[in-house]
């Protein structure tokens, strides 16, 4: 018998670039225009679209990352309201539902946009600083992989020093940050070299 997750996985669909763009814009507008009592319905609707494009199994990571993102905000918000002297839980819930809707709509867009379509879209808009955008995207992509690699190397080679105490952990963190900054600069220069030597006439 076919499992529910397999059933949903097989029925996962890809929505077109235009539809996902329209969905992102509409949802963003609705998040601010919809009355508070109808916001949960909008949140459910966005969640269903998310399951449709990403698959049911992606719902757990979505919730996990959203909670990681929202918990510090919740604490800060409650503390602020305590200081002001008027706790309004309804306001907090409404705001967080809006954030959830925007967050999920962005994820849907990220799942649906292909980078090729993005490049074409920018071209059609005759968006001149395209090369800067691409450079920024490339560097963001590199930053993530560089940081992961660096943390791995330091974890193996000097990681156990971090167990010796707080000061050692701070020292280790400073080492990683310094290494990341230097390596990031080198990669930025290399990408810049490629940009100047090859892409100047193709983009922008």
């Amino acid at each position: 018998m076919i499992s529910l997750s397999r059933f949903l996985k097989e029925r996962r669909r890809r929505i077109t670039f235009k539809v996902s763009l329209a969905l992102l814009l509409t949802t963003s507008l609705l998040a601010f225009l919809t009355p508070a009592n109808l916001l949960p319905l909008l949140a459910i609707g966005v969640t269903i679209v998310f399951i449709y494009v990403a698959g049911f199994e992606q719902l757990v990571p979505l919730t996990k990352y959203f909670l990681l993102f929202i918990i510090p905000l919740s604490i800060a918000s409650i503390l602020l309201q305590v200081i002001v002297g008027a706790i309004d839980f309804a306001l907090i819930v409404t705001n967080f539902t809006k954030i959830y809707i925007l967050y999920t709509a962005s994820l849907i867009a990220m799942k649906s946009f292909s980078s090729i379509e993005l490049v074409s879209f920018f071209r059609k808009l005759k968006f001149k600083p395209l090369i800067a955008v691409l450079l920024a995207l490339k560097l963001t992509y590199y930053s993530a992989s560089i940081f992961t690699d660096l943390v791995s190397v330091y974890k193996v080679n000097v990681g156990y020093l971090g167990k010796k105490g707080f000061l050692c952990r701070v020292m280790l963190l400073v080492m990683q940050i310094k290494a990341f900054v230097q390596l990031f600069t080198v990669k930025a220069l290399e990408v810049g070299e490629a940009m100047y030597t090859r892409y100047k006439k193709f983009v922008g």
Partner: protein
């Protein structure tokens, strides 16, 4: 017609001479090799030919004449005639996926339709160079500058890549300049060899090269062993039942072509990637010298980096001794991120020596190393063996076989 004409070229930075009174020429459609020891200026020469030095890196001073297609290098680059591929080939591309790059360059996906949605990192090395050649030949580039491609490729892939470059050069009249060293066995693929030499005071000092750190640990039979180890990478099973043991004081080799899982195995041993099933025992502390990233240093100079590690690991070695052991004395005040590949590897070896691990994991030890640095590597292995530590080296280069006591040959089928 000559594609490149260099006459009396001298390049210096901060009063350090990188290239001195250097002259050569390369004709259109030729495949040339620029070779020389680590730090001899191979990368600098390529960056001069592409105009990056001194137009982006303005702190270099240049004398002499450099003409690329009868233009200044920067003019040739601005006209799109030059394609410079850095050591990290992935930084050559702005797109992350195959078709994204093609869309950027407005090229049809001929021959790459099946790879369209693949990330560039997912392409095999052979396919990556095929893609690179396709993008270059279909753009206006007439000069392709490749910085150290051989160090990442196994011999079979390297041969295929050089055959591809040669055929492309002849068919499309593209000039190819490869900067590399130690690619014996494939010299026949090059029409011209340009040798760089560097007269630098570089004296090895092995007198003080004693394996003090390694002797601090007691003798055990094995520093690492695996029994029926199963390793998956994503959905792919890399190894089904892997068995090996690395004796205390032993040097163990992991050999295989690109993509057979050598790096993954080292990462599993380092505890960075989990394994599926089986038994794995690894003595700690471990020191891991990865193939990527090549640079993972955190201070502003080679001397400071050594000093930091001496402090971190509480070693009472003298900085000057370590600098001498690893032929780094002339580089002591250089920023580690400005070192050549070979020099950066020597610094990594120096840090490993200071750390005195029970198990040293070394990914592609010969990456960028010249003959002199290979001697340093051999001495390092000897000192580790004498001190009852163990070394596991992973490489596509079978020349390393002479340094190991035992080895594992990995096949693409995961056997």
């Amino acid at each position: 017609m000559n594609a490149i004409n260099v006459s009396g070229l001298s390049v210096s930075i901060d009063s350090n001479m990188v290239l001195k009174e250097f002259s050569f020429s390369v004709r259109e459609g030729e495949v040339a090799l620029v070779t020389g020891p680590s730090g001899s200026g191979k990368t600098t020469l390529l960056k001069v030919l592409s105009g990056i030095i001194p137009n982006i890196y303005t702190n270099f001073s240049i004398t002499g004449s450099v003409r690329v297609f009868d233009l200044s290098p920067w003019q040739a680059t601005e006209k799109g005639l030059v394609a410079y591929v850095p050591q990290d080939i992935y930084t050559f591309f702005l797109g992350s996926r195959v078709c994204e790059e093609l869309e950027l360059l407005r090229l049809p996906p001929n021959g790459f339709v099946h790879h369209c949605d693949k990330f560039l990192e997912e392409l095999s090395d052979g396919m990556l160079y095929k893609f690179l050649t396709y993008t270059v030949t279909n753009s206006s580039a007439k000069l392709l500058l490749l910085d150290e491609p051989a160090s990442h490729l196994d011999m079979e892939t390297l041969t295929n890549v050089l055959e591809l470059l040669r055929a492309t050069a002849q068919e499309k009249r593209i000039t190819v300049v490869v900067a590399d060293h130690n690619i014996e066995g494939v010299m026949g693929y090059f029409d011209a060899i340009i040798e760089l030499d560097k007269e630098v005071e570089r004296h090895k000092n092995f007198d003080t090269f004693t394996p003090r750190g390694f002797k601090e640990y007691g003798v055990q039979e094995f520093n690492a062993y695996a029994t029926n180890l199963k390793i998956n990478l994503g959905r792919r099973t890399l190894f089904k039942r892997l068995n090996f043991a690395v004796s205390k004081g032993g040097v163990f080799g992991v050999f295989g072509r690109n993509g057979t899982g050598k790096t993954t195995l080292l990462k599993v041993l380092a505890g960075l990637i989990p394994y599926e099933s089986g038994e794995l025992h690894v003595e700690k502390p471990i020191f891991y010298i990865p193939q990527k990233p090549l640079y993972w240093f955190s201070t502003g100079s080679v001397r400071e980096e050594l000093s930091l590690y001496l402090k971190l690991f509480g070693r009472r070695l003298k900085e000057e001794d370590v600098l001498g052991m690893f032929i780094l004395q002339h580089l002591a005040d250089r920023n580690p991120y400005t070192l050549s590949v070979g020099e950066a590897r020597r610094l990594a070896m120096a840090l490993a020596y200071i750390a005195s691990p029970k198990l040293l994991l070394f990914d592609e030890p010969f990456l960028g190393l010249d003959r002199e640095s290979e001697e340093v590597f051999a001495e390092l292995l000897e000192s580790v063996k004498e001190g009852y530590g163990s070394v596991i080296v992973a490489s596509h280069n079978r020349i390393l076989a002479k340094y190991v006591d035992n080895y594992l040959e990995l096949s693409p089928s995961g056997e």
